[in-house]
């Protein structure tokens, strides 16, 4: 047992931090400092900077553009990225559909899609959830009927994040209507420019537009865009959902948020001093720091374990990461809301760039309440925290 990084790992961390510090464009740095959301262009630009460095898809196999880093180095890289406040990689591509194509796609699919994912030439979105299939994903009803060299897809997807930007959607569809629930589902790659696709943006409670409904009306998808075998899509979906274990905790990001709260609290007046002098505030901040440190150690246990265990046999404690990670993200946005106090009240729409009006109140305040509202989602999506507890109870505790 030795919980320290090796000197090689520390040197690697310094290299990563150094690169990010030098390479992150100034406008993105400013947005990060003010907690503003990144635009599509920001994410694309930053992904290409990383891709040029060979770091856009570190966890992929080397022959597909990966770096060959072991899990600890991958963690160090991801943590440094999260702590820098730089845009996050588009998960739908690099963490979701990419690994599925790598594991189950054919060579043509790999050659066609993977380089474009790494360079964010294609923006991907996820067509899993449906109005009637949320936590109970397997009850999905979007149907694909074979018609010569095509599948004809009909149905509706919902909560589709960034569908408005998307070039492609990976999609679960029912190809065998007679089969029971998990059976008869296939995994299709759908070009978003195909006729018959309608995207309807849904405004979220923070006033933003991230999620969409996607209506599929006789959408013809070439059979070459089927991943793996027909009717085996549920297995690929499970692989996909189980794949993202460590990034989901977002420990690095929460650390960065806590630093940001500290900086803001040091400026905001409270009585004769600042909010940072407010004892109750400090205790709440410290309580989050303690839980976050515990989660970081739990995360490192998983990461270190991954170096030894074979793929597909995750450490059971990885089930904690989503549950606790989302709680801490929420606690952090809540704490910042309280620091902001009345400054959080004005609603200031965040147009993507080009917003010229001076801010109402302090420049950091505009995103505080929207961020609090928006982050209620993190305990809902990707398997709600109730589903996570079900999983722990059943899969780990055997109840």
């Amino acid at each position: 047992m030795d919980l320290r990084f090796t000197s090689d790992e520390l040197a690697f961390r310094a290299e990563v931090r150094g690169f990010i510090a030098a390479a992150l464009p100034e406008p993105l740095r400013t947005k990060a400092a003010l907690g503003r959301p990144f635009s599509k262009d920001d994410v694309v630009a930053w992904t290409r900077i990383l891709n040029a460095k060979g770091w856009a898809v570190p966890h992929w196999p080397v022959e597909r553009g990966g770096t060959g880093w072991d899990p600890v180095r991958q963690y160090i890289f991801l943590d440094a990225l999260q702590q820098s406040g730089a845009p996050q990689m588009l998960s739908f591509g690099v963490n979701m559909v990419g690994p599925v194509i790598i594991a189950f796609g054919n060579e043509a699919q790999k050659r066609r899609f993977l380089p474009r994912i790494a360079n964010l030439d294609d923006w991907w979105c996820q067509g899993f959830s449906e109005p009637g299939a949320g936590s109970d994903l397997a009850s999905l009803r979007t149907a694909a009927r074979r018609d010569g060299g095509h599948y004809v897809v009909n149905g509706q997807k919902t909560w589709t994040t960034f569908a408005q930007h998307a070039d492609w959607m990976f999609c679960l569809v029912r190809t065998d209507p007679a089969a029971k629930k998990q059976k008869g589902i296939s995994f299709l790659l759908v070009d978003m420019r195909t006729p018959g696709i309608t995207v309807r943006p849904i405004q979220t409670i923070d006033g933003g537009f991230e999620i969409n409904e996607v209506f599929l009306d006789d959408v013809r998808v070439p059979v070459e865009n089927l991943v793996g075998a027909e009717n085996e899509g549920w297995d690929y979906a499970k692989f996909l959902l189980g794949n993202e274990r460590t990034g989901i905790a977002r420990v690095g990001q929460t650390k960065e948020w806590l630093r940001r709260i500290r900086r803001i609290a040091a400026q905001e007046r409270d009585g004769e001093g600042t909010m940072l002098d407010n004892r109750r505030f400090r205790e709440r901040l410290t309580a989050i720091e303690v839980e976050l440190k515990a989660l970081e150690m739990t995360l490192l246990r998983v990461v270190a374990g991954e170096r030894k265990s074979e793929r597909g046999k995750p450490d059971p404690v990885s089930s904690i990461l989503k549950l606790k990670g989302s709680e801490l993200q929420q606690a952090t946005t809540e704490l910042l809301l309280e620091v902001a106090g009345p400054h959080a009240l004005p609603w200031q729409p965040q147009q993507e760039d080009g917003w010229n009006e001076p801010p109402i109140g302090p420049d950091w305040a505009a995103t505080v309440a929207p961020s609090y509202f928006n982050h209620r989602k993190v305990s809902i999506y990707g398997g709600s925290n109730e589903i996570q507890r079900n999983i722990i109870a059943k899969a780990i505790l055997g109840l």
Binding site: S129, G132, G134, S135, D136, S139, T158, W159, I202, Q203, T204, I205, G207, I211, E268, R269, D270, G271, E272, N278, R280, R284, L337, E338, G341, P342, H343, A344, L345, P346, W347, Q348, I360, G361, A369, P370, Y372, F373, R376, K377, S379, I380, Y381, S384, N385, E386, R389
Partner: protein
């Protein structure tokens, strides 16, 4: 010891409830919110016709002699409907300040206009640095002959954009955080030197940033003792917190009902999700939180009339704490139990959640009041 409404009060509640039900369908509310004022002139006129804008006024000023209980009833109904009208700003805060410290002449000139719905008031008090401290006032008022000159900035002035008259606190003497030396002035919103920047608030209402540059007002604009407005401000803010508590209860009752309804109708895994025990228990805990909040809102209502101002403040602050905690739990869990649909602006739940969040923030959140109450000896000091 009686928690029931009188027959008259029940009728009053029904009438308001019916009025709002007729005007506050979800799509209608959205239309009001997107309008320039951010609320409905028509609803406001109907409230005026019902005498609701003059609830607590003397008969001489068009009042119906209602008291804190009637205000509680109205606010709870506003909460259920998520009504957007400037009732808190104009009637509870604005007219409340006038009732407690204006002269007979000032009252006669302003209150009847409020009663008729023709005058919107706003309370311009919070400043960049003041956070929730009512005595922290940097905006200055200096005498100039018989007049006053006001200078300073006021933030998050609720409904300050549609207000006709702003009730502005300003420092007439002493240092920024002195309890003495604060005056209260009725300033015409269109007066020279007054600049307003209106905006929507996070809960879909309206507020304004108000800058006062060399604003000259007559002596008659000073309400009450120009160096002694703080006790009145504290009293009216207590009244506003009691009213907000009642509104929050209305919001929570409707939100909880909506959530339970969702649990009954939404199906996953072949069953209504309300059949899952973990969600049942969450809904039960929400019920407890709502009813505890309701109990405290009632206590706060009773305390509005309490003459011992320490006792009054202590109990109303306690109610604000309970409202803040219950509101946060109920709001967050309502979204969680709604799942994805709860995250959308198309679902009423999110709007209720945001209103509860705002109510917690207004006049000090639960943590703020807990710290202050604890520092002053607690709720039941020896």
């Amino acid at each position: 010891m009686d928690f029931d409404l009188s027959e008259e009060q029940s009728l009053f509640k029904d009438v308001i409830g019916r009025l709002l039900a007729g005007h506050y369908a979800f799509a209608q509310r959205d239309t009001y919110a997107r309008s320039e004022t951010g609320w409905s002139r028509e609803v406001w006129s109907r409230l005026a016709e019902m005498g609701l804008l003059a609830l607590s006024f003397d008969a001489a000023h068009g009042g119906s002699g209602g008291g804190p209980v009637e205000t509680m009833i109205a606010m709870e109904e506003f909460g259920r409907a998520l009504a957007l009208e400037p009732y808190l700003a104009t009637v509870v805060l604005g007219a409340g300040l006038l009732r407690h410290c204006a002269s007979a002449e000032q009252k006669s000139s302003l209150l009847p206009r409020v009663a008729s719905g023709g005058l919107i008031l706003a309370f311009a008090h919070t400043e960049r640095q003041s956070r929730y401290d009512l005595h922290d006032v940097a905006c200055r008022a200096r005498r100039d002959g018989g007049a006053w000159i006001l200078d300073g900035e006021k933030m998050v002035v609720l409904h300050g954009d549609s207000a006709d008259v702003l009730l502005v606190t300003a420092r007439t003497a002493g240092g920024r955080r002195d309890r003495g030396g604060i005056g209260l002035f009725a300033v015409d919103a269109g007066a020279d030197g007054v600049t307003r920047r209106g905006y929507a608030t996070q809960d879909g209402r309206r507020a304004a940033h108000v800058a006062l540059a060399n604003v000259r007002v007559d002596a008659v604009a000073a309400l009450g003792d120009p160096e002694g407005a703080l006790p009145v401000v504290e009293r009216v803010v207590d009244e506003a917190m009691a009213a907000l508590a009642a509104e929050a209860v209305g919001v929570m009752l409707a939100l909880h009902a909506q959530t339970v309804d969702h649990l009954r109708t939404r199906r996953q895994f072949g069953a209504a999700i309300g059949s899952f025990q973990a969600l049942q228990h969450r809904a039960a805990d929400m019920y407890v939180a709502v009813e505890q909040a309701r109990s405290m809102a009632m206590l706060a209502t009773m305390m509005v009339a309490e003459s011992d101002h320490l006792l009054r403040h202590r109990h109303i602050a306690a109610a604000k704490i309970q409202i803040g905690r219950s509101g946060r739990f109920v709001g967050q869990q309502a979204i969680q139990l709604h799942g994805g649909i709860g995250m959308t602006a198309e679902c009423k739940a999110g709007h209720a959640f945001k209103r509860l969040t705002t109510i917690d923030t207004l006049f000090g959140d639960a943590d703020h009041h807990l710290c202050r109450l604890a520092a002053s000896g607690g709720l039941e000091p020896d």
